[in-house]
């Protein structure tokens, strides 16, 4: 296997369960155990009720396109071979957003706010699985 040239996550105590979930093929979202509010990116306290108790719930992996950009400039050598690529900001059905690459050869001119999107997981290395998205067929 050729050397992986892209940056990899450096998890915190708060975010480790998110990355562990991906390795098991599950997109887990941090959920307040007191008021039920889902939050992302992972953090120690619920901003709605200030509870520090949380658990992890599996997301549906469905959502809608909120906005996007298509990157043409090589900001990082690890991504040079993929240019141009689309970065999508997706509002998941659970109410939080993720930003990641939109795979599957979508054309930027065809995208609209609200376009249905689904999450796909992709193994980057033996250690890491990363979340991406594609248009719902």
């Amino acid at each position: 296997m050729s050397e992986y040239l892209k940056p990899l996550p450096e998890p915190s105590i708060d975010s480790q369960p998110f990355w562990d979930g991906l390795k098991e093929g599950r997109l887990l979202l941090q959920t307040c155990s007191d008021c039920g509010t889902v939050r992302h990116y992972p953090r120690p306290m619920c901003e709605k009720c200030q509870s520090m108790e949380c658990h992890w719930t599996e997301a549906t992996g469905r959502g809608q396109l909120y906005t996007w950009t298509e990157t043409h400039h090589p900001f990082h050598f690890g991504f040079k071979g993929e240019l141009p690529y689309i970065l999508a900001t997706v509002e998941l059905d659970e109410g939080v957003r993720i930003q990641t690459q939109l795979l599957g050869g979508a054309k930027v001119g065809d995208l609209r706010v609200g376009t249905p999107i689904e999450v796909v997981l992709d193994r980057a290395t033996d250690e890491w699985v990363l979340p991406y998205v594609r248009l719902v067929k």
């Binding site: 892209k6 940056p7 990899l8 996550p9 450096e10 998890p11 915190s12 975010s15 992302h40 990116y41 909120y66 906005t67 996007w68 950009t69 298509e70 990157t71 043409h72 400039h73 900001f75 990082h76 991504f79 993929e82 141009p84 690529y85 970065l87 900001t89 939080v96 957003r97 993720i98 930003q99 990641t100 690459q101 930027v108 609209r112 706010v113 980057a124 890491w128 990363l130 979340p131 991406y132």
Partner: protein
């Protein structure tokens, strides 16, 4: 509360180095060169400076004190908000002067933004971008152009904002830079040049993006009591900062298009006791063309979504209703993280703007924007 800092302080001195792409000077050298110019401009001796606020990145306050030989500093701080820091530092300076802690606060920024690490490398190491680094770098999002482009793409989709309007901002800034002896980009720019420039991160093209520059800029904030006897004081009528909800990431923000500036603006206008129609000149933090449009909205010059049409028809050019970035801004003068915007507002209100002078400018504003959405705003007036 609203008028706490109104008229309590003034900018009494300004200093800048040559702005360039490439320098043989260190960051601290650029800071000290700009500082001593500002101190002399204020009619002070270095040791009369008793407060310092250096920029949040780069050489720290102790190095500035050592370099200038300051022996009686009573207050030092940083305002860590990226490009919103310089104007936020004015609030900090005004507050400590009004409280009687200091008489003269030096606000200074010096950087080798071109000659040292470029922006993408710098951001990954900054603590305020920790969540971006963990969640967004691995999938290809690194640079401000990539992080801010989705904001303006949504603005385009919701409100019909278009690339001709981005080009108008870029061309206006360039026209102003061409009038400025201390500007980096001096060749003419057309709307067509803008549209033909290479795509960086859609919809932002090369000429939508700010420069990366080397240089230093400094100002002295003094008590109004001292200022009234100086050569050309510019009074701070209102000043403040604001933070968006969920400031540490753009993606999780309830409304991605609402900047911290939208919270600061009503407070600062109220503190200043002025209306939008009183503003003769506006220096607006222009890291990207679209941010100028978004900030004009959040300042309240028009409704959200109307910023695109607002910049059309020469309104933000010299001679227009609201001349913006009369120095050429970060887009065409230099990227000194907005300290150059503070310098320019003072220059305008002193009527020392040269070929870019707004005739008889009396009141103006300067904004800061940084760290993914933090905002700051000061409204100033020429002393009568």
């Amino acid at each position: 509360m609203a008028n706490t800092l109104n008229g309590k302080t003034a900018i009494t001195g300004i200093g800048e180095t040559k702005y360039s792409r490439g320098t043989d000077k260190s960051s601290i050298g650029l800071m000290l060169e700009a500082s001593i110019k500002a101190i002399h401009d204020a009619g002070l001796k270095p040791n009369q400076v008793d407060g310092i606020i250096p920029y949040c990145l780069g050489p720290v306050g102790e190095e500035v004190m050592t370099g200038l030989g300051l022996t009686d500093v009573r207050f030092s701080a940083q305002t860590p908000m990226g490009g919103a820091s310089p104007v936020a530092a004015l609030q900090c300076a005004a507050a400590v002067i009004a409280a009687g802690v200091c008489n003269h606060v030096l606000v200074v920024l010096g950087r080798r933004g071109y000659s040292d690490a470029r922006v993408t490398t710098r951001l990954a190491a900054m603590p305020q971008f920790r969540q971006i680094a963990e969640f967004e770098n691995p999938v290809g999002a690194f640079a401000p152009a990539q992080l801010y482009a989705p904001m303006i793409r949504r603005h385009m989709e919701l409100y019909g904002t278009n690339p001709d309007q981005f080009a108008e901002v870029a061309v206006a800034m360039r026209n102003h830079a061409m009038l400025n002896d201390n500007a980096i980009m001096k060749s003419p720019l057309t709307v067509e040049d803008h549209h033909n420039s290479r795509m960086i991160s859609d919809p932002y093209r090369l000429f939508d993006c700010c420069l990366e520059s080397d240089g230093g800029t400094a100002v002295i904030v003094s008590s109004s009591e001292y200022a009234k006897d100086t050569r050309a004081p510019v009074t701070i009528l209102g000043v403040g900062e604001g933070h968006p909800d969920s400031p540490s990431t753009i993606t999780q923000r309830p409304d991605m298009l609402e900047l911290g500036l939208s919270k600061a603006a009503p407070r600062v206008f109220e503190m200043a006791g002025v209306k939008h129609k009183d503003i003769d000149v506006a220096e607006i933090y222009d890291c990207f063309t679209g941010m100028v449009i978004a900030e004009i909205e959040d300042l309240g010059f028009c409704e959200k979504g109307e910023g695109g049409p607002f910049v059309e028809g020469g309104r933000i050019r010299l001679g227009g209703e609201l001349p913006v970035n009369t120095h050429g801004g970060l887009l065409s003068q230099a990227h000194i993280a907005g300290m150059n915007h503070v310098y320019e507002l003072v220059r305008q209100l002193r009527h020392e703007g040269g070929a870019a002078q707004v005739p008889n400018a009396q009141i103006g504003l300067v904004t800061g924007y940084g760290d993914l959405g933090d905002g700051s705003l000061a409204i100033m007036q020429r002393a009568s």
